[in-house]
Amino acid sequence: MSEPSLPQFNIQIGNDLTWNVQPILHEIRHALRKLLETGESSIIDIRSIPLAPGEEETIIDTLGCGEVHAKLNALGPSEIYETRFAGVWLITHFNEESSIIGRFIEITRFPDILKSQHEDMTIALNQLEQELEHGSLSDQNETDAETNT
């Protein structure tokens, strides 16, 4: 992120996790247990909880990075990755100026926003049919298409 750096406050000295950080981590723990036992997903809006400067970073650093990393390009970029704890995903939405507009911790097998959407697939099918029948992918252009690939 290219935001100007805020002056560093000595509020958190050392590695001690302070007031809201521990409760959020415990909430993730309970949500992950619920996911394992009942299959029910949960989602935490990390921006709705008052956090001192540095505490949000502490939580994200603690969660770390896992095996999956996805980048969305929808109304600005979004970063989605599975943390080092399987089932715990961090989703950060940015707008086109790279400012954060939402940050969620989703405890789920697979975040909904990564799934392809029904309406988008309907439009995509129409588009594909159009292009196969009349457009760039139609039989008339097959030779050109083969040469180009």
Partner: protein, 366 residues
């Protein structure tokens, strides 16, 4: 803005998709909106559902005695995508600063929108209304008061954006030379939502509009007509510097050790304890910071008469008048009165002993 958007029979979802915005983008938009409106993230599917099917309401925006800060706040670049999306999803039929039309054409557009959507359009007002002399603030020769009364007639609801429209704001501060009043002081027969702040946080403005689109109703309001979602908590209750207040660690000046360590700004006049707004959680400029985090005490700008609250740098526990002077004058008067009353007492005592009067229990009761 494509022509498709101006077709009012499209739902919001359809309108966005016709603009090339995928449903996945729409879901991202709903997630960001839920976060903005401080709704639990579990509600995102419900919000998506509601917004998908919402019809685009007509919105008429009237600007009266204002500095245009509220419009500026709303249209600034930072989170332009989301705000402009919401803006695009309403049909903004009239707005002085943003509209292309001018003169008679603009007024005609307003009247056409009012007639077409009679009883259903949203009226947004920023700026106070001067009652001292209608000539203080006019648009196209029409006084603010007349325009408000005329336009409010067919409105479904009124949103007073900014402290000026909600409570009178700066023009209302002593001695109020223009006789400025708030929208709520004039209109009594329509639902009014106050969205105060000087200016309000942009997402709060759009959050209220989004609430309409999602739920079709007015959000729950507090005793000053402000949506509880954004104004239900005081700055003090959500401030990250609260542990310092509780421990009694305060900054004494703007550049001392305490200020550098980020201690509580109560002594510098912070009005956080008596101010209700979303600054401490939602913050400003896309969540970057808010005044207290930047080291400046809260002004209380979302409260009525915050300009007359005794000074921005006077702590809440300090009196607003000069009590030292009052004490000295009162002491002087007390001495004078005391001498007078004491002398009377002595005279009474002298005459009583002369007349050999007995001392009774009542005399000792003093």
């Amino acid at each position: 803005m494509t022509n498709d958007l101006s077709r009012k029979d499209k739902t919001l979802g359809e309108a966005l998709r016709s603009q090339g915005i995928s449903r996945r983008s729409f879901l991202k938009f709903c997630a960001a909106t839920a976060s903005m409106m401080a709704l639990p993230p579990s509600m995102i599917p419900a919000i998506a559902n509601a917004l998908e099917k919402a019809r685009r309401p007509s919105v008429i925006w009237l600007s009266f005695q204002e500095c245009t800060g509220c419009t500026e706040s709303l249209t600034r670049a930072h989170t332009a995508t989301i705000e402009s999306l919401i803006f695009d999803s309403i049909s903004l039929d009239y707005h002085h600063t943003l509209q292309a039309a001018a003169g008679h054409a603009a007024e005609a557009a307003r009247e056409a929108a009012m007639e077409e959507n009679n009883g259903e359009y949203l009226l947004v007002v920023d700026g106070s209304i001067p009652l001292g002399n209608p000539g203080y603030s006019t648009i196209a020769g029409i006084s603010n008061y007349d325009m408000l009364m005329d336009t409010a007639r067919g409105a479904a609801a009124i949103i007073s954006v900014g402290t000026c429209a909600a409570f009178g704001g700066i023009p209302h501060a002593k001695p109020n030379p223009t006789g400025a009043v708030s929208v709520g002081d004039i209109i009594k027969d329509k639902p009014i939502i106050n969205v105060p702040g000087c200016p309000p946080i942009p997402v709060v403005i759009t959050g209220v509009l989004t609430h309409f689109l999602t739920f079709g109703t007015i959000p729950e309001l507090d005793n000053l007509g402000r949506p509880k979602t954004f104004y239900g908590q005081s700055i003090h209750d959500r401030c990250y510097r609260r542990p310092f207040y509780d421990k009694g660690l305060f900054a004494e000046t703007f550049d001392d050790e305490g200020a550098r360590l980020g201690w509580c700004l109560y002594k510098l006049g912070c009005k956080g304890p008596t101010s209700y707004n979303a600054c401490a959680t939602t913050k400003w400029n896309g969540g970057v910071s808010f005044p207290i985090e930047a080291g400046h005490p809260c002004l209380g700008c979302s409260e009525p008469d915050f300009w007359d609250g005794g000074g921005f740098y006077k702590a809440i526990s300090m009196p607003t008048e000069n009590i030292t002077k009052t004490t000295i004058y009162a002491a002087a008067a007390g001495v004078a009165a005391g001498v007078a009353v004491g002398a009377t007492g002595r005279m009474k005592k002298a005459s009583a002993s002369k007349a050999h009067q007995k001392v009774t229990i009542d005399d000792l009761e003093k």
